[in-house]
Amino acid sequence: MATYTSSAKKSSAGAFFDALATFWHRRWLLKYFIQRQVTRSYRRSYLGFAWAILGPLVWVFFLTLIFSEVVGLRFREVEEDPNLNFGLFLYCGLLPFLAFSEALNKGINSIKGNAGLVQKVLFPLELLPFTNAIASMIDKFFGLGALLIVLLVFGQDLYWTVLLLPFIVVLQVVFVLGLTYIMAVIGTYLPDVAEIMRPFIRGMFFFTPIIWTPERLPERLRWVVDYNPLAYLVNSYRDLILLGELPGAQATLYFTLFSVALFVAAFWLFVRLKPRFADLV
């Protein structure tokens, strides 16, 4: 029997762990939510879900072609490895960035965009940003699959370090989730600030070594990469997939601590503020 009393203010720690537990209690709802969001865009196409992998394949193929000998844009070879196609290098960096920017942009709208639900049904709102973040990431996992296929087709070496990718992905999930919860709160409480965040998220593209390599940075600008958690993700993806190297242990530790702290703070903030969301949307 579900009994609740509005006035019974739970300790914030209790509310925090209750909210965490709902991810398990409502796992089916979460599954359908995520499934719905991932498959939504392919619903009406004839090939259906196949586009989830076909789309990125076409894209990565296109990128590779542009930076190949055929088209002749060879001037942007990757410094450490002249054999590596810059298209692949670029695509590998794009994947974590796009997962990040998509999740955040959707996160801003995750409460407002579901006003119908938020105002009408009592259900755990913390599922909404989670859905956005995970759905965006799943979408990019298909991109990852496409990348691996292309690497095989083009005869690139596949390194054993690819197997370590799931660990980085878990860290990435924690990192992106934390940011998404913050964005959800900002998007609901401070819509104007959210509008400022959008160009900032887009701008992160240039502050992250996606179209440039960290090695090219002059020493006095190294901090742009050192203090950019997104740069850590991009570099780790490349290290594991394209170069067969392990990301730095110290950087990994810092990133892990930062991501966990971010998530805990963001989720706590979200749980604290969510009772008022229905009034604000």
Partner: protein, 440 residues
């Protein structure tokens, strides 16, 4: 016994401001600029609902009904007061609103059920029941965008009522679907009620509340005005509406529409559940051609408009009519109807009272005063006015107003509708003298 729902001192405040940017100015000026004001959507609501109650919530638009239901279902947080809910609560605000058109009925039903908090396994078991109830058939596996709006709301309703809630909160959900489905959903509500489900629902239909509810409350401007017996609360609500319509100078024409709507609803409800539909009043409204009623007023002996009077007092019904074309002769009549009994108590017109109106020119206006005594049973009455032209088939029943008869002084209430002038004599058969007594 634990209460199903208990509200104490519930209030809900909103800040009303001309625009969002003015809120910003206000915040930046640290309270020096004040453009917004507080608006209390609800104030001081105390309510206790016992398990198994069917509570109807009446009130005009903006009275705070939906806000109250949202607070009870936990979607909104009250600004003041406490809410206590015991049991599994399902709330439906707008049917099928959470449906995604690209997904099939089955997927959407599952989603809706999961959102409402039903177990995944339970939902799988209930699919057939839901599909049956919604009468959707093979469409269950088609995208919802191919559904008609009726199918959509049927599915929404089917999911919500098949979850076996302890407390069901409905916000005008029953207005969906055709008459047959309405009947079916109402039957389902009766079944739920029989099985002990507490039902709280908002309705604009007084007929529905009277027939279906065991209790009712009336909200007006965010406050709880009356609670208790559905009949009384519904009467109170009707008064409230009429008061509002009187304020509106062009009021009255809605009146006929109201009756039409009520009647339509009652026809829909007939044969459902345990209590059957009562006789509905008759009134017809036609396009006014030669003449139309402009207003009906109930006045006291000083000529002041009144709405309540003790039984037996003398009132004047003033009817104003306007002629659109020249007529040789016409008649203006009134009809008194008891709301409770749903019957005409009395009707008369100028011809019958031998007060002839005579020939009238186009554009001419006339006022007719009917002064009469109303020795009637306490309750709400409507008085309608008609204007008829000889040769036309039906009189125009154009406008009506209502008034309330209260108990006269300390007298006992009468039996039946009318207190016919009565003389009572008591003959002491042993003695000689006669003691005539007359009641007032």
């Amino acid at each position: 016994m634990t209460l199903a729902v208990s509200l104490k001192g519930i209030g809900k405040r909103y800040k009303i401001s001309p625009s969002r940017s003015s809120l910003l100015k206000e915040a930046l000026s640290f309270g020096k600029v004040k453009r917004s004001h507080d608006f209390w959507a609800l104030q001081d609501i105390a309510l206790e609902v016992k398990p198994g109650t069917t509570l109807g919530i009446l009130g005009r638009n903006g009275a705070g009904k939906s806000t109250l239901l949202r607070i009870i279902s936990g979607v909104l947080q009250p600004t003041t007061g406490t809410v206590q809910v015991n049991g599994r609560l399902t709330a439906i605000f707008g049917l099928g609103s959470g449906f995604n058109p690209e997904f099939t009925g089955r997927e959407n039903a599952m989603m809706n059920g999961l959102i409402l908090g039903i177990d995944h396994k339970e939902m799988l078991e209930r699919f057939d029941e839901i599909a049956d109830f919604a009468e959707i058939g093979d469409f269950m596996d088609q995208p919802v965008r191919t559904y008609s709006s009726g199918m959509r709301s049927r599915l929404g309703f089917a999911v919500a009522v098949n979850v076996d809630p302890d407390i069901l909160v409905l916000d005008e959900a029953l207005s969906a679907g055709d008459a047959a489905f309405k009947k079916k959903s109402l039957q389902r509500m009766y079944d739920l009620r029989e099985s002990g489900t507490t039902i709280l629902f908002v309705s604009h239909s007084m007929g529905m509340v009277k027939k279906f509810c065991t209790d009712a409350i009336l909200l007006h401007k965010g406050r709880l005005v009356t609670s208790g017996d559905p009949e009384q609360v519904a009467d109170h609500y009707r008064d409230l509406i009429e008061k509002a319509q009187e304020k509106d100078s062009r009021a009255g024409t809605d009146r006929g529409l109201d009756d039409m709507l009520d009647r339509e609803e009652e026809e829909d409800l007939e044969g459902v559940g345990s209590r059957n539909g009562s006789a509905s009043e008759q009134s017809s409204r036609q396009e006014a051609k030669e003449a139309e009623i402009r207003g009906v007023q109930v006045l006291d002996e000083k000529g002041e408009p009144i709405r309540e009077m003790p039984s037996g007092s003398r009132i004047t019904v003033r009817v104003r009519a306007r002629y659109a074309a020249a007529v040789e002769e016409s008649a203006i009549g009134i009809a008194l109807q008891s709301k409770r009994a749903g019957v005409d108590v009395f009707s008369t017109d100028t011809t019958r009272e031998e007060a002839l109106l005579g020939p009238r020119k186009a554009g001419e206006e006339v006022a007719v005063d009917f002064t009469l005594e109303v020795p009637l049973e306490p309750g709400t009455y409507t008085v309608g006015a008609t204007v008829s032209i000889p040769g036309e088939e039906k009189p125009h029943f154009d406008q009506a107003t209502s008034f309330k008869i209260t108990r006269a002084g300390s007298e006992l209430s009468i039996g039946g509708l009318i207190h016919l002038p009565t003389r009572v004599e008591i003959h002491d058969l042993e003695g000689e003298q006669e003691r005539p007594t007359q009641s007032a």
